[in-house]
């Protein structure tokens, strides 16, 4: 039965067609949209559902077009705007004519998707027998047209063709092939629906307009504006991209306080999945959301996030408000570039906080946990506390990590985190590297390369990265319970490695039987990092922090350490801190063995020398000493790797930690 709804996501379904294979089978095609296709080749009639007209989105830039029925023009134009915003490189980037011609002739087409942080992704998928194209024969192509006419909603589309969409590049030419079609279309669909929700169609004097906040447009360019290097091409429609860092004021003094993490996961997911708000959320993690929203006059952010405020969450926002074509997730770079050029166009960047306005004054006692409300007395055992209603409710939500209260000896708190600021920079650097080093790009003019780098918009790439990050977290959790000891027994069980909050996979607590337990957890993390993000191993936006201490150690001190990771691997074993990148960790893991008293003395001596003299040279002289060089050749190698004597010593102490028996 024919569908009556317009599904923006379907405008790119043709990209799943293997043009070459179809041509080899005698089907005549031009490009990857099918508005000019000769349907008599397949003995079928032209599709006629609303979604069919999405095929025209590449060529319709105005509501005055007569190519399709007027009724469908607004949806197609809005799709075209959304598509532009979702592309990794602006469709209107200002490359040379020669480059554009080469691209048109498909000279730059690469096989499959290029994942910036995992370049061999597509090859591995191909080895597993997976292939990007969904339509390779006339019969499959016929089914594609049937699907366009019958598809009822985007979910059907993603469910049926998800596997192919994830392997297909949104644009198959190098270096445009860095976003998978699944992510690109998810993003396009969300943006399209927000544009549609906040604009209206007007017909006046027989002319069609789209209006948003009293700004009427007839063409795509009028709404979005031109490129950043076109100072007079001002766009009329201004929207906001907002990074929301969701924080809480509570500190952890009891295990029940961890329930705030559960509350945060719940509220972010509820907002991101609610049918009224989900399209505003382009992507999210368990402590972060990226929103696409209209200006404040149209949608008040405090009202949108009212539930967060009521539950006393604090949302720190980085908000870019700009003409549509200028919106980008690399906000700070774009802001600097924008303000270094003389232009009359509109781009603003703000830092704001969304939270409940606290009272000007509180009468004692103040809530011991959040310190933002008046607290009522709450006694437990011999401890008297003061808690506000919010914190009391959180305490009453249940007892996470109940087993922890029974543990003795040492335990480690562990958190994996994605640093969004670092991610944006890393993606930018990886794209530049791809443009410079890709074999196909070697014949491209340096000016074109520079223009491509400047035109890069990392939003969709960032969204795809977050999906892989979530996958890494899930697999990390599975792998933890697959670790074996020397006898082949399971190293951690669900009772000795706790995930205190269901579905919150960034945070765990485990029993430390020995230094080896900590090292096995780090090994699992680094192995997965190398598998999922091989190009990020040296400079990773994904970080692992582990805080090791006696089980009585203050929880909030663990959390403070876990919340501010400095490097890829941060370990605190009070009072020592060991901060390492993956390469340093691997080197130490390989070179430093089990206990060796002489090595221990030597490392202590080196650390002392370094502390007293603050001189690397004096340390090296000691290491170069003939006897020392002979006795401890490994130390020299480690110093050559950039490790300090203190790091080596801290690692040594961690690795040789004795078996702890209760």
């Amino acid at each position: 039965m024919k569908s009556e709804v317009f599904i923006s996501e379907l405008h790119d379904i043709g990209k799943l067609a293997d043009v070459k294979a179809l041509k080899d089978l005698g089907i005549k095609l031009s490009g990857q949209t099918f508005q000019n296709f000769d349907f008599s080749q397949l003995n079928i009639s032209t599709p006629s559902s609303p979604s069919w007209y999405g095929q025209y989105s590449n060529e319709i830039g105005s509501l005055t077009s007569t190519r399709i029925p007027e009724h469908y023009l607004p949806d197609v134009l809005l799709t075209s705007m959304a598509d532009e915003l979702s592309s990794a490189i602006s469709r209107t980037w200002s490359g040379s004519k020669k480059f554009k011609e080469r691209k048109e002739k498909d000279e730059l087409v690469a096989k499959g998707l290029y994942v910036l942080w995992n370049p061999s992704f597509y090859d591995k998928e191909e080895e597993r027998g997976n292939y990007w194209a969904a339509f390779r024969t006339p019969d499959e192509l016929r089914k594609m047209f049937e699907f366009i006419d019958e598809c009822k909603n985007p979910t059907d589309f993603f469910e049926r063709f998800g596997k192919n969409l994830k392997l297909t590049a949104e644009d198959k030419s190098v270096p445009f092939n860095v976003v998978d079609l699944f992510t690109h279309l998810e993003l396009t669909g969300k943006i399209y629906r927000i544009l549609k929700k906040h604009s209206r169609v007007i017909k006046e004097d027989d002319k069609l307009y789209l209006e948003y906040l009293n700004k009427r447009v007839q063409t795509k360019n009028e709404a979005t504006g031109g490129r950043i290097d076109q100072p007079n091409q001002r766009g009329k429609w201004i929207f906001r991209l907002i990074f929301c860092y969701v924080r809480f004021p509570q500190s952890f003094s009891r295990l029940q306080d961890l329930n705030i993490l559960k509350e945060r996961v719940k509220i972010i997911r509820a907002f991101s999945e609610n049918e009224n708000t989900r399209d505003y959320v382009l992507f999210f993690t368990d402590d972060f959301m990226c929103l696409f929203v209209p200006r404040e006059e149209e949608a008040k952010i405090h009202e949108m996030l009212e539930q967060f405020r009521e539950d006393r969450f604090i949302i720190d926002c980085e908000e870019m408000e700009a003409e549509l074509s200028l919106l980008t997730s690399s906000m700070k770079n774009a802001y600097c570039k924008f303000h270094n050029s003389s232009t009359s166009r509109y781009l603003k960047l703000y830092e704001k906080r969304v939270s409940m306005e606290p009272s000007p004054e509180l009468h004692p006692n103040i809530c011991d946990s959040c310190q933002m409300e008046h607290g009522e007395e709450a006694r437990k055992e011999q401890v008297r506390e003061y808690l506000c209603n919010t914190c009391k409710r959180i305490r009453d939500m249940g007892e996470p990590a109940r087993e922890y209260a029974e543990w003795k000896g040492k335990a480690a708190w562990m958190k994996i985190a994605l640093d969004q600021k670092c991610l944006s920079d890393r993606i930018d650097a990886l794209f530049k590297e791809y443009v410079d080093n890709s074999r196909v790009m070697q014949s491209v003019d340096v000016n074109d390369k520079n223009k491509l780098k400047e035109s890069f918009r990392p939003l969709a790439v960032q969204m795809a990265f977050v999906k892989d990050y979530e996958q890494l977290l899930r697999e990390f959790k599975d792998k933890i319970y697959e670790i074996e000891d020397a006898e082949g027994n399971q190293f951690f069980t669900k009772e000795t490695f706790l995930y205190p909050i269901d579905d919150y996979n960034e945070f765990g607590i485990f029993k430390v039987y020995s230094g080896e337990a900590i090292l096995k957890v780090i090994d699992t993390f680094t192995n997965l990092l190398e598998e999922y993000f091989p190009k990020c191993v040296d400079n990773s936006p994904i970080k692992l922090a582990i805080s090791v201490a006696h089980v009585k150690y203050p929880y909030q001190e663990h959390w403070r350490f876990l919340s501010e990771p400095k490097e890829t691997i941060d370990i605190q074993s009070s009072p020592a801190e060991l901060i390492l990148n993956v390469k340093q960790y691997k080197t130490l893991r390989e070179k430093i063995g089990k206990e060796n008293v002489k090595l221990s003395h030597f490392l202590h001596r080196l650390a002392d020398i370094k502390e007293k003299t603050d001189s690397d040279m004096t340390v090296r002289i000691e290491v170069y000493d003939k006897d020392n060089r002979k006795k401890f050749p490994v130390i020299l190698e480690l110093l050559e790797e950039g490790l300090t004597p203190k790091q080596i010593l801290e690692y040594y102490n961690l690795a040789r930690e004795e078996e702890i028996h209760e």
Partner: protein
């Protein structure tokens, strides 16, 4: 006074152990902050010099201190029982530094100028004074004229004191509360600007510039 200037009297404070608490949390652990809020200095100056209306704020120099934890069992004199042990976090001199050192800035006015005459002096700040924590030496350094700058606030001050300190605009408020004594035995918590707030104010209060837009 020119709007672009605020004049402060700069003092240096040195201590061997200091625990300026966030409030008691769960009763068993008291973390320590690394700045000296206006309320802490106000209380100390009132106790030691009888000054009621001095506006002052302080910041420990990062390179001079490190954190440590002290555990003790408070004794309830009334019930003659010991309570659960409390772990108190405090600042002590970093290895190689003779003391944990803080810069104190006092808003210059007639009262504050008189205050210089009491220098150098010994004062106590923070928690656990009975165990000798928080004993400090304070001495006058110089007068500082501070330009206006937009950036991230690096200390804690009552919101109602912001104009006294020369803050002309609060761009992003990170709120918390500071205790404000209303008599010797009672007080209230007043809303305060905490670290990370974005303000337009004297440079000495700013830790890093804010370079973007604001309304």
């Amino acid at each position: 006074m020119n709007d672009s200037y605020k004049t402060f009297l700069h003092f240096e404070l040195r201590t061997q152990t200091v625990a300026i608490g966030e409030r008691v949390k769960g009763g068993t652990f008291r973390p320590c902050i690394e700045t000296i809020p206006t309320s802490t200095l106000k209380g100390s100056f009132r106790d030691h010099f009888g000054l009621e209306k001095v506006a002052a704020i302080g910041f420990f120099r990062k390179e001079t201190y490190e954190r440590a934890v002290f555990t003790y069992s408070p004794f309830d004199a009334l019930l003659k029982t010991s309570k659960l042990p409390i772990s108190l976090e405090y600042l002590k001199p970093k290895k190689g530094s003779p003391a944990a050192i803080a810069d104190i800035y006092v808003v210059k006015d007639g009262v504050a100028e008189m205050f210089i005459k009491s220098m150098p002096a010994e004062i106590s700040i923070g928690a656990l004074k009975s165990k000798d924590f928080g004993r400090c030496k304070i001495e006058y350094v110089d007068e500082v004229k501070s330009d206006l700058k937009i950036g991230y606030l690096k200390g804690r001050l009552l919101e109602e004191e912001s104009s006294t300190f020369g803050i002309v605009k609060i761009i992003k408020a990170c709120y918390g509360y500071l205790f404000y004594p209303t008599s010797r035995v009672s007080g209230v918590y007043k809303r305060a600007l905490f670290e990370g707030s974005i303000v337009k104010g004297p440079e000495i209060l700013i830790d890093g510039a804010y370079e973007y837009d604001y309304d």
